[in-house]
Amino acid sequence: MSTYQWPYPNELNTIEHVSCDVLVLGGGLSGCFAAIAARKQGLDVAIVEKGAIEKSGSAGTGFDHWESACTNPCSKVTPEEIAYAYIDEQSHFSNGIFHYITCREGYDRLLDIERMGGKIRDTEDDFQGARFRDEDTKLMFAYDYQNRFTLRVWGTTFKPALYRELKRLGVKIYEHVEATALLKENKHGAGAIGMQIHTGKLYVFQAKATVLAMSRPARVWLFNADQPGLCEFRPFQSIGSGHAMGWRSGLELTMMEKSVRAEFSAAGRSFPPYGTGNNHNTWYAATMVDARGVEIPYVDRDGNELTDYYARYYPSQGQKFFLKGGVIDEPKYAYRGPETLPFDELIKRGYQLPFYADLSRMPELERKVIWGMMVGQEAKTNIPIYHYYQTRGFDPTQHRLQSYGNGWQSASFLDQERQFFGAPGGLMHDWDLKTNIDGIYACGDALFGSDCAGSACATGHYAGRKAASYAKTVLMPGLSSEAIDKEKQRLYAPLEHENGLNWKELNMAISKAMQNYCGASKCDALLLEGKRLLKEYEKIIVPQLSCVNPHELMRTHEVLDILTVSQLVIEACLARRTSVKALNFERTDVHSDAPQQHIVISQQDGMIHTREVDLDYYGDLKENYEKHNADDRGESNGI
């Protein structure tokens, strides 16, 4: 294999200083909205993104559902109804503030995106007459056709539109720059440090307020050295650096002890996302058949077979609405919608594997909205599924697409193969989406209990305007050269060794350690052994890491963050003393029925601090939202 000349300039040891009022770390949907909202207040704003904003983040190449758009003109539910339903569904281990902001302001963000050039309605009348379409507004709905609070949207148009808007507004854009550390001055947020991933140049961002808009962690339990890009569901490079740098800086996190049995890894058991026959999420409510071509029945929440095709889109008798979507897995009876018969029941009744999605049996517009609109707009489906499958000859009127496993994840994982799915842990915050450190805010996947694209946009905008309001009240903080030098040393260290260990070897070791010591069943002895092992990795292995260029240096930094997150997860597990079903947290050594609270965890100079916080600490949602947003309720007003 030939060695190439490095195609970018070598800017090692160059430091560029940037100062701004509001600094946004992460250029996904959430970060873009944070930057736009802050800039709209007339402030100097900078945004930092490891990839290219036009296509970066979990929704970089699209998404198809916008959940909880309770204020859209066709909605028959209130923000309070849906936000409290989510809280109840998640047994109060749920982020009420996050859900309420989504329900209350989400639709305004859609209107913003439309003004920027994104497509949110069927303006070409491709679906005229469909039951899921409102003829006046041309909005299109998914799941619950009665209550109309989940929208089908053309998500491939969103990131390019947001990128254009950032440029139009004059936000300072730093792409291909990884944010690596937060800066603090006198216990206040003071900005961050970043590294250009092609040149090795360091950036010191000095800011009055900082918004963390980075992803949830990944590659903690799942890793594949041959195809690392496929080992998780979200983008390969989104590994929770915000969580890691927050932990290192003393930010509080909660619910980090929550992990679920893995649901998705196309490097292992899964297939390309949304690329197999199923009837979940993007593919709801596809008609499913068994190996003989016998149709699999849909049933209501009481198990009654639905004979009318359209009944699969309506609540049961006596039920006002049902929930479906990204974090809804096996909903409680109150929120359970129509579903195909449970897998075990199907096998018992003699249905034969393999199962298939057979869209040919669906009404034409229902088929076309799945294959052609939803598949095609959802993340990672436009090219890899919609176009690629057609190249392979797939025609939904002529073919059945196979289903694997027994659900949308198209696979069955082992218990110790775990993942941050279904509203995982993240940063603790108040009604301003402010963390425990003044001047540092968070949004989207950085927050605990996060959810879908609509939430990312809604909380991003909200955090951006709160950060901007704060920035207007403070002077530019000073910077400690000691902290900058220390980070520089940490970042460049792997370039200074030759023939050391590769980042993949450490990632493999961490994921195996986490499977062994922090799998499904936990107990102190096991967790403490895991903690010791990770500490050994930190002390003995990390100094041996080496790499030869800035790209591989970035990958090495990511694994250092994965190690930090893994240590944080173990600390959070040690701090939770009893099993909690809602957190998928199972302890074998301590059992108690005592009422559970949030365990909020942070570290300072290696010392772990925990405190308990009431699960419903946010209080009455409507009342507190209005109290904290008396001047600005985030209405879409002509971005």
Partner: protein
Amino acid sequence: MEFKVKPIPSSSQPITYEADLCIGCNRCVQVCQCDVLFPGEKTPIVMYPGECYYCGACVMVCPVKGAIKLTHPLMNQARFIPIDDDHQS
């Protein structure tokens, strides 16, 4: 220090270029959020194929239809079968 780079092989080849169609504009290189692609002499170089997460951004921004092809690993090619009318009971 002088940076070095060489392609890191993977068992799959996610991205291939049609050399006759590629105009070498490097839009794909710039937009790839996993930094898999590097500018090359004629077509970009797939330097880190294992790091591809198959989002398709490179194909979406490519100005020439057919210049880039994204292919799933063989093990991930989901099966589909013709509908057999006899079975539609």
